[in-house]
């Protein structure tokens, strides 16, 4: 089984079948680009992977564990197990406005460590504040640690959102249209940041084929609710 394995994932909203059986797999340290027409279900796929929506059916396998949405295991059990395993950098980044860049990263990490301690698990890191500093440095935000989101540029906000997500050391990190809210000139920068991520599988939703070609090891296109691998992504660009 691959590091991330999705089989027959389905999701409808009322009568509308958005995902009709999505299949794909992805190895660790690889990046998958998900392309397709607007309204095709790309965001819905990410929302299913992050459990913001409950899939109607299908299987999601992550790092050797399978989560079946055909009934079986209850949603709350899956929720608890998948918590923190799949990260998301949304289109709007959704930083917490009342916290500084550093606090945005530190808060969820501190809460996660508290939960781990309660369950008798080892902490994610020996020194969380050191980890926050490392992440800020890695994202080129060392001078912005004490800035509030409203004073950061779009690109900086996005990097805080990335740092905040990877602080929890997820297995999978999802990006929804990472270039859409940014100056087009920044898309190379974003690609660089994504390519530098390690020990993680990355799923990037984008409608920008050139960007997809830059970041992806593998590309799938969602059409009519199913995914098809695109062998030659450059040709689409």
């Amino acid at each position: 089984m691959a590091f991330l394995e999705v089989k027959g994932l389905t999701k409808s909203f009322g009568q509308k079948k958005v995902l009709r059986g999505i299949d794909f797999s992805l190895e660790k340290n690889k990046t998958l680009a998900v392309v397709g027409a607007s309204g095709g279900g790309k965001t819905t796929l990410l929302r299913c992977l992050t459990l913001l929506e409950t899939p109607d059916g299908g299987i999601v396998g992550i790092d050797g564990r399978e989560y079946s949405f055909d009934g079986g295991k209850s949603r709350s059990v899956i929720d608890a197990e998948l918590r923190g395993k799949v990260g998301l950098v949304s289109q709007t980044f959704d930083l917490f406005p009342q916290y500084t860049a550093a606090e945005n990263i530190a808060l969820p990490l501190a809460l996660a460590e508290k939960e781990r301690a309660k369950k008798g698990l080892l902490p994610l890191y020996e020194d969380d504040s050191l980890r926050v500093k490392e992440l800020l440095l890695k994202m080129g935000l060392e001078d912005n640690a004490d800035q509030y989101p409203c004073t950061l540029s779009g690109g900086q906000r996005q990097r805080v959102a990335i740092a905040r997500a990877i602080a929890l050391s997820p297995s999978i990190l999802c990006f929804d249209e990472p270039t859409s809210a940014l100056d087009p000139a920044l898309s190379d920068e974003v690609a660089k940041v994504i390519n530098a991520l390690e020990e993680i599988a990355v799923v990037v939703v984008t409608h920008d084929m050139r960007f997809a070609a830059k970041v992806a090891d593998k590309t799938i296109i969602i059409e009519n609710g199913v995914a098809r691998e695109v062998k030659n992504a450059q040709a689409l660009a």
């Binding site: 913001l52 959704d94 406005p97 009342q98 969820p108 809460l111 996660a112 939960e115 989101p149």
Partner: protein
């Protein structure tokens, strides 16, 4: 009666006004939050009943509500619910303001972008942590201006308690008019109200400044 004597007399009435104001605020803010949760409940009967109640309270004059709270228990049920007029006035004020506050809270909570809740969830935070550590302060910031409006109105609304014979600031001045044929104390009450509202305004400005460091 000297100016000083009148000032002391008015200050007594002003004490009642302040007490009604403070107790109304302290009780109606949490009750308003409770009403807000009821009016957004997923349990539809509760939601419907609460919304109709809020609609009635917001759609009728506070003065009428004062009469209803004070007279209806005796007239209809033949019970004396409120031996104290002050308590009757307080009950009417608390219910009235809780309903207004509940709508402000509802707007404030619904105004926080979904993305904030969803980011919290994807980051593995518990629902209560998302509400108290992420959403709450944003709601406070969002509702500060409308709450400040209501609180300013409350200062002036306290003078309605006179209709059920609570002796507030304005009533004291009116008594002086009746008993001593002095009219200027009536106008003098404006100084008390304006000072009070001035303090309320300063307090809310300070709170707004304190939350100015972030944008929602």
């Amino acid at each position: 009666m000297s100016f000083a004597e009148i000032t002391v007399k008015l200050a007594e009435g002003f004490g009642t006004t302040c007490l009604l104001f403070a107790l109304t605020l302290v009780l109606s803010l949490p009750l308003g939050l409770l009403v807000c949760f009821c009016s957004t409940s997923r349990f539809l009967p509760l939601k419907a009943v609460t919304r109709v109640f809020v609609w009635i309270i917001r759609g009728t004059p506070l003065m009428l509500q004062l009469f209803v709270v004070f007279y209806v228990p005796g007239l209809v049920f033949h019970v004396t619910l409120f031996t104290s007029r002050f308590i009757a006035a307080l009950v009417a004020f608390v219910i009235n303001y809780a309903c207004y506050f509940s709508e402000i809270f509802r707007g404030g909570i619904e105004g926080v972008p979904r993305g904030q809740y969803e980011a919290g969830r994807v980051l593995g935070m518990k629902k209560s942590d998302v509400f108290f550590k992420v959403v709450f302060l944003q709601v406070v910031k969002r509702i500060l201006a409308p709450i400040s409006n209501e609180v300013t109105t409350l200062v002036k609304d306290t003078s309605l308690a006179r209709v059920i014979f609570v002796v507030d600031l304005l009533q004291v001045a009116e008594n002086i008019l009746m008993e001593r044929a002095l009219i200027w104390p009536i106008f003098y009450t404006g100084v008390f109200y304006l000072t009070f509202i001035g303090l309320v305004t300063v307090a809310f400005r300070a709170a707004e400044r304190k939350l100015a460091y972030f944008e929602v």
